[in-house]
Symmetry: C2
Subunit: 413 residues, 2 copies
Amino acid sequence: MAADHVSLRRNNLSVVLRHVRAAGPRSRARIAADTGLNKATVSSLVAELVERGLLREGQAEIERGALGRPGQLVELDGSSVCGVGAEINVDYLAVAALDLSGGVVLEHRVPLDVAHQDPSTTLDRLADLIREAVAAVDARGGQTAGVTLAVPGLVQSATGSLKLAPNLGWNEVPVVDEMRARLGDPAYPFRVDNEANLAALAEYSELKKDTGNQADDLVLLTGAIGVGGGVVSDGHLLRGGHGFSGEVGHMPVAPAGRTCGCGRTGCWETVVGLTTLLNKATDADDPVRDPSLDVERRLAEITRRAEAGDARTLGALADVGTWLGIGGAILVNILNPDVLVLGGYFASLGPWLQEPLESAIRDRVIAPEGGGCRVVQSELGFAAAVRGGAQISLDQVFLDPTLIGRDATGVAQ
Amino acid sequence: MAADHVSLRRNNLSVVLRHVRAAGPRSRARIAADTGLNKATVSSLVAELVERGLLREGQAEIERGALGRPGQLVELDGSSVCGVGAEINVDYLAVAALDLSGGVVLEHRVPLDVAHQDPSTTLDRLADLIREAVAAVDARGGQTAGVTLAVPGLVQSATGSLKLAPNLGWNEVPVVDEMRARLGDPAYPFRVDNEANLAALAEYSELKKDTGNQADDLVLLTGAIGVGGGVVSDGHLLRGGHGFSGEVGHMPVAPAGRTCGCGRTGCWETVVGLTTLLNKATDADDPVRDPSLDVERRLAEITRRAEAGDARTLGALADVGTWLGIGGAILVNILNPDVLVLGGYFASLGPWLQEPLESAIRDRVIAPEGGGCRVVQSELGFAAAVRGGAQISLDQVFLDPTLIGRDATGVAQ
């Protein structure tokens, strides 16, 4: 019975917190009316959420005629609780911390040629980045609600293990255990998830901010050395039966193509991955191919050449665009998304890739007008996965506000 | 306020009816305990559901020790309320009526070369079949809760219009209006949906009967002249942003291939559709190609030849199997289903198609062991879409039991 009361209280805290997030600042009386909870309960719940640093007192409510006294509004307290996202990708590591209202506390990306490092060196470097993010949260008197690590590969969430990441050359790495050990077994939860899934969640949140409630079916393509896909269907991440969905990079679309990082031939990423573009567009000694330089800088140089009308660069972009269209048309025929988001390098080079993709969707999708699918370029770019990771860490707080300590400082209890 | 009471009552009727379906026969006291409704309310709700022919009195409850009197059990009354599914496909029309407990009241399929008929002739023939099904329901004193029509094409559910069915040669046909007019504007609801979506729902229900709650991610492939796909993700039909998902037949996988019924080249159905198999396996004057003969009989002849070791037949099956594997691997990489169900002719010729498909999934899906995906042959075969249509018609009754008249005979009110 006691356990039931605890669980009921936790659920009611979550109801109130999520309601204020969704509906905006409002009085305790209004929260009671909206949620069906009684006023005394709402007062007690709000008091606890304020103690935990999740809500704060806002302005006095504007008086609404003669009925009732004006109440004090309560609003989301964005400042003191933060989620952290981290990412290992083929040629960079990244980290981001977001506060509860979605504000960016810190973002940092460093180039690293991960495929040519020992995994433990990479994990050491990543631990440094995560410590830096947690320190930034601490420095503003905040709490870290959790860390979610994005990886470009197949993840077994239950065990916290990375099963396979062909482009990293990693196989069966217990990343959660390895990272927890490096971070001194921290009090906050540490999770691992697929980078394209996390990026899709972040893009979906961005889209919701822009368009309200219009588009609930989204496909995100992340272009890097590997190519990943994340699918949001009817507002929910499509994970598949075993969490291995969205492996679009390995769709067999080019049977006569070259060997993929996964050892097969003809995978989609062998014709649209960044390596293919760079190999077509540049010579072997071109610094644009150098993985120790930041990927955004290298893509800026490709952009410069394309804008200058360099024929080899434009030819390579046209080839990639054609293949992007073929795979894109497959995805849109199957999934009928409202929006197809170009992420990673596909966004950086969007001015040359969006048109061939749109044209293929128009021509190769059986539903009229491409089934209503719009193509957009991600504004989050390479930051999408870490943003999504930070969001997932914060989502847990909205589901269970008691994850955050009552003193609203220091680490989560 | 009166409207609120009506809606509350309707909702409670639905809660009780769905609870008995899900949990099985039980006493009124038990229903009250399970649902949290009070006993007097449950008694009144059960009485109304019995009047409407949806529940019936069952056996006396077996006494459970000294606590309380044994109660009378109530159970789902399968007999008097039926859903009807109908289907227009390229070479047949079909109809099925199912009662509330899933029992088959009637199933009927007739060969018809739809692509070479005027649409209005086809709709006339279909109206005859639907009248036959409704008469079979009437003959047992039942009510028809609704009719759902399956079509092999793109459907606009809101307007009841078939936008495009390339293999029928139909374009912008207001099928619901046309059928309602032919049926004399019946009292029951009449809907239209995509045939592969309906078939996927029926296969999902079959699977749930067999395996309990294990597999919530399913992909169904319907092999006919056209090739359709239906996707169940986490227990829900994936419809996409505009209801045009699952158009797997038009994935561009064979760019050098032949022209499709949709006018494009290289669509998946140009290499795995039934016409392709028949063209490869038989001469032009072979009766196996004759669309006026029932498709099951023609497939039985193909099976006979394959079993007899006919090289041309086996070669054609091997070709189709290879391409089935390529498209199947694309779908499994994207969707990671627990189960891939072979429907339509893929099921009829499953003994030759399942192995190459499984082999491609093993070899071409990046997740270990094909992401855990099993391939199974549909046991519903060409009956899946009409079964799914009947189920969707019945689903409405579970959501709103007041759709069924209180006298429990005659048409729905």
